[in-house]
Symmetry: C2
Subunit: 407 residues, 2 copies
């Protein structure tokens, strides 16, 4: 008899963004004439940088003739892209990362979901609350938790991020084995400072733990004292894996290209305590279960490391950051406490009421889609996340509509 993975039954609701999509669909059926403004899903609104468009056309032309044709690429991704990444994303910032420690992939969501399968199932896992729900859900699917009660799964160590601690996850009293960190955080927008990250690296080294560092939003950092990569922190190479994405930073959500860094001296342990190479494990998984990323996407990503591409991608991020500032300032004037929006495209707002109720209020009364904070963890049950991925005009109009509803 073909039996299902029993852990899927613990996932008692649909994926957050699917639930939102369903409520939107129901609203549009009721009110087909309302022009919605979407500040919910973290999806970019484009267009792609011109440097990428040129690279994409050139790559398509290459594949149109036998001489230029490329089939399967190298396992970890093309050298032209991995070299550019190692140089521009790491070495210029003093982070000692080599091209052969980089694995090109189709998305951080995919890699974050896959990486946990390299580890034993009976680990103690620490996850910030609130945070991107994929960290929790993929550990539930893998059987690392018991059932959920009151929005939390038994067996996970949640790291509450609230106004009381400045939304910075604190090092737990009882040791953990696997630690998820996201900086700048999705959804709070808070970026970890160097000394905060150093404390986590030191803790991981002291307890033979491993940090999974999600830096998908690093391109939005505008304070030069803040680290972009965990490998800017001494000692991180042995205890951290880092995830990067072009989705939000260059408008690649429809292009699909990201990467994961697994340093060659990053250590995990066999049952008997002998060291194993996390790099070798990930490479083995990659070989067996992936055929890499489209040639087009890798050429488009490479173009982001030219002077023109860097300027265009930064301009894209700056537009979104300007929207984020608009939202943050607007909500502060409405008297609602906010974080984020400075080094992040997200603004995290304390609504003072139930998150889904506030979601329904904004949708029904203002035609605005936000993301209920409860989807990111129990600490978000009074919060919403607003996304700056929109035009300046739509952002301003959204704020106006919201102000009328809340007045």
């Amino acid at each position: 008899m073909i039996r299902a993975n029993p852990h899927y039954q613990k996932l008692n609701t649909d994926y957050l963004f699917s639930e939102i999509a369903q409520r939107i669909q129901a609203f549009q059926a009721r009110r087909p004439d309302t022009a919605l403004i979407h500040l919910g899903l973290g999806d970019v609104t484009g267009p792609l940088p011109a440097a990428c468009i040129r690279a994409l056309h050139a790559a398509v032309d290459e594949l149109s003739c036998r001489d230029g044709f490329r089939g399967y690429g190298p396992e970890q991704g093309y050298g032209f892209l991995r070299e550019a990444i190692a140089q521009h994303d790491f070495r210029v910032r003093g982070a000692p990362i080599c091209a052969d420690e980089i694995f090109i992939s189709e998305g951080t969501k995919v890699d974050i979901g896959n990486i946990q399968a390299l580890f034993a199932t009976d680990l103690r896992v620490a996850i910030p609350d609130p945070v991107y729900p994929v960290y929790v859900d993929t550990n539930v699917m893998a059987g690392r938790t018991g059932p959920a009660t009151g929005g939390r799964y038994s067996g996970l160590s949640y790291l509450p991020c609230t106004a009381a601690n400045g939304f910075v996850p604190e090092i737990p009293d009882t040791p953990v084995d696997l630690i998820y960190l996201c900086s700048p955080n999705n959804p709070t927008g808070v970026a970890l400072r160097r000394e905060q990250l150093q404390a986590w690296v030191d803790h991981a080294r002291a307890h033979q733990a491993l940090i999974l560092f999600d830096a998908a939003y690093e391109a939005f950092i505008r304070d030069s004292s803040l680290p972009h990569s965990i490998y800017e922190i001494p000692g991180a190479r042995e205890v951290a894996i880092e995830f990067r994405s072009y989705s939000k930073t260059a408008g690649f959500t429809g292009v699909r290209c990201a990467y994961t860094v697994v340093p060659k001296d990053c250590i995990v342990r066999h049952l008997d305590g002998t060291p194993a190479s996390a790099h070798a494990l990930w490479r083995r998984r990659h070989q067996t279960r992936s055929n890499g990323v489209s040639y087009f996407a890798q050429r488009a990503a490479q173009a982001l490391y030219t002077p023109e591409g860097r300027r265009q991608a930064r301009a894209l991020c700056d537009q979104y950051l300007a929207n984020a500032r608009t939202l943050r300032t607007g909500f502060q004037q409405l008297g609602l406490p906010c974080t984020g929006g400075e080094h992040s495209p997200y603004v995290w707002i304390d609504t003072g009421q139930d998150a889904w109720a506030f979601f329904d209020l904004l949708l029904d009364q203002a035609g605005i889609v936000c993301t209920p904070g409860s989807g990111f963890g129990r600490c978000g049950q009074r919060h919403i996340r607003l996304s700056a991925f929109n035009s300046a005009e739509n952002t301003a109009e959204a704020l106006e509509r919201i102000a009328q509803v809340l007045a």
Copy 2:
């Protein structure tokens, strides 16, 4: 302490194709002036069909302006592609499949690896021998096997495919829960006939088992009596999941686009025997762990369903099939028994000696790269797989060089 997934230690050698790549590299270092001919890896040699090239350029242009820009696509893939698939790959063949039962993905390798995670870990799994090694390796990683001895993992039910049974997997005496079938088979090239597939479907229904049907090579079938899809077989919708790929059939190995069909009435069971929907489980996984496939790739795949695209893709397959016939005929004349090469780009050759020894002989003496059959299972330890993915000229020259060595 961060502990590794203990099952990875059971994978005692590198992934087959990586091992081959290493031997090639060593040979080229010794003999840099030999022009190798690659009949090993199943990678196409292009170029892409002109209809796809046009669709790709158009899609890139759309993403270059705000009005045409597309970010994240629909979860299961764009409707334009799923509708075309349902119509042209299934309904015209009498296979009752709907667009919303299709999940677009970046590759069959990825989906085949991921699908097993929907199921319990203590299932009895049946896998043909020889076959694509990803079926075995992903079940090893998931902990469904014990250690390997003599090239076989304990806990798996191997289905030997040899000259004695016409290379057709036979229904096992003891019941199994999860059954992998590949038709036309990689590496033997043998395609299952309708009554053979019907017997498997009947068996799965009788024992509440599930069939994972890998049809990545269906476009090479030229005998109109052979089924292309398992859903041409009555009763299959409840007990089968099918995998399709554009990699080999349209030269998409560098484009990355494939799909998986999970019918809405395909049933798995909870621990207590109550039915669960395989479709719902896969959708939940897809939502949580994937962001889909690039917009470009989906437009390119759509172009394959136009009259022009279909003609061009078929012509590509016909070229490879002509090479396959050349190889098959050539080896038969050399006195070595062969299968495949009729409805498949692969020819499976009984060398009468150790597969890796024959691999080294062809590499060292003829500068020809093949794939040792032992990489596909113990039944392949005397075989090699030759791939027709090459030009007619290279194929003819390869055969000439081999004939000289074997003379």
